[in-house]
Symmetry: C2
Subunit: 234 residues, 2 copies
């Protein structure tokens, strides 16, 4: 794994199609960098990988360190070595793009990986609940997700900005997960606000996609539905 290259297992459209019965073991993802995000088999919660540990953030709000053999049907990770480190307020989710535009102009078709570290005035996250039946699409799960609002919480944000043309492979635009320093709070970020956090960021132009080889994945349509993705992953 080269510094700041991205590893991705499966395609987001497979989750949209409800394909998440099997995946790579957690022990394998841990070899694919020092930070990442994703989900678990049957979309049972959100995944945060951070410096050697993979966390499962479940729909009931509980958090556990994943077992090495727990399977991951979708993940993105990177061996993150920030090339720019600053301290800055992040008033809202939209302001993240403005920061990247400032430090990485004319990079719309590259990826950006990032990490925010520090105190957040507010943080709104969701955690997806596991499928109720095999093949249940992510869009349905999005309608029943758990949403948590935190105030004055300290923790780490792990994120990726993917180019628009990668919609359906990844999540176009910002995709970021949070875990608190005490490892008791976290999820897929819907909104956030900080008066000042440490921001590390790096550009990525190398993406290694590993495709699942199971029958469900091979039989899937993997058709694009931009509106559904934006609704559930926005």
């Amino acid at each position: 794994m080269e510094d700041n290259s991205i590893y991705q297992f499966s395609l987001l459209n497979a989750l949209m199609d409800g394909i998440c019965e099997v995946g790579i073991p957690t022990s394998k993802l841990l070899q694919k960098g020092n930070q990442g995000l994703g989900t678990f088999v049957r979309m049972d919660g959100e995944l945060v990988m951070l410096d050697g540990t993979v966390y499962q953030l479940k729909g009931d709000g509980s958090i556990r360190a994943a077992d090495p053999h727990d399977e991951i049907p979708f993940a993105m990770s990177t061996l993150f070595k920030p090339t720019i480190s600053i301290e800055r307020a992040i008033p809202n989710k939209e302001s993240i793009d403005e920061i990247f535009d400032e430090f990485f102009p004319h990079t719309a078709n590259q990826f950006v990986s990032y990490r925010f570290e520090g105190a957040f005035k507010s943080m709104k996250v969701r955690t997806v609940r596991a499928q109720e039946y095999k093949g249940q699409p992510l869009s349905e799960l999005g309608a029943k997700q758990s949403v948590f609002d935190y105030e004055d919480v300290e923790g780490t944000v792990v994120g990726f900005r993917s180019p628009e043309s990668w919609q359906g492979f990844s999540v176009a635009g910002e995709h970021l997960h949070f875990i608190s320093h005490d490892r008791k709070k976290g999820g897929h970020i819907l909104e956030l606000c900080s008066e000042g956090v440490k921001i590390g960021m790096a550009l990525n132009s190398n993406v290694h996609v590993e495709l699942p080889t199971d029958r469900d994945f091979n039989d899937a349509k993997l058709a694009m539905n931009d509106a559904e993705i934006r609704k559930v992953e926005g």
Copy 2:
């Protein structure tokens, strides 16, 4: 480079948008496997990589070994180690898919890399002529391509089958280039017929995409136009 993983530089939609001013040097592509296909700066001809040499198949029908510093704005390559080797007739381009369906059932969302070696009764190829102006899209060049019909020619076919969902990143379905054993004929295959050739094939589930970092690529829309791709790359 792992056996039977795929390396791809840039995205096909960049060529569709006419983005091909710069690329990786030929010397770099040669490190990315033992066979591949692509094009050269300004889409000046077709590229075949075969066992340590990169060939440029030009619009005037001439063929040369590329210089190490010649730049490649789009290419796919693999370190090809066939897992299945057979001898079989290939009556037409459509029959290639039938062979894969027979030996690799239920792999619609994997890649297949392949090599055909031997005598072809007929072979119809095109070679794209270089852009007439910067940014000229591939669809325009397709209307002015050179087409050559060969009969009773011996040579090598290098190809990839890409999943439907990768249309625009790669060429969905079959994408195959030919070079004759005497290195005097070749191009992007439009049609072929053989009464019996050696066929080597392998499944690929790992794809390493390297994105260009230049301004033209970052400013490109990279929007999908399935009909245009099928017309020019079919």
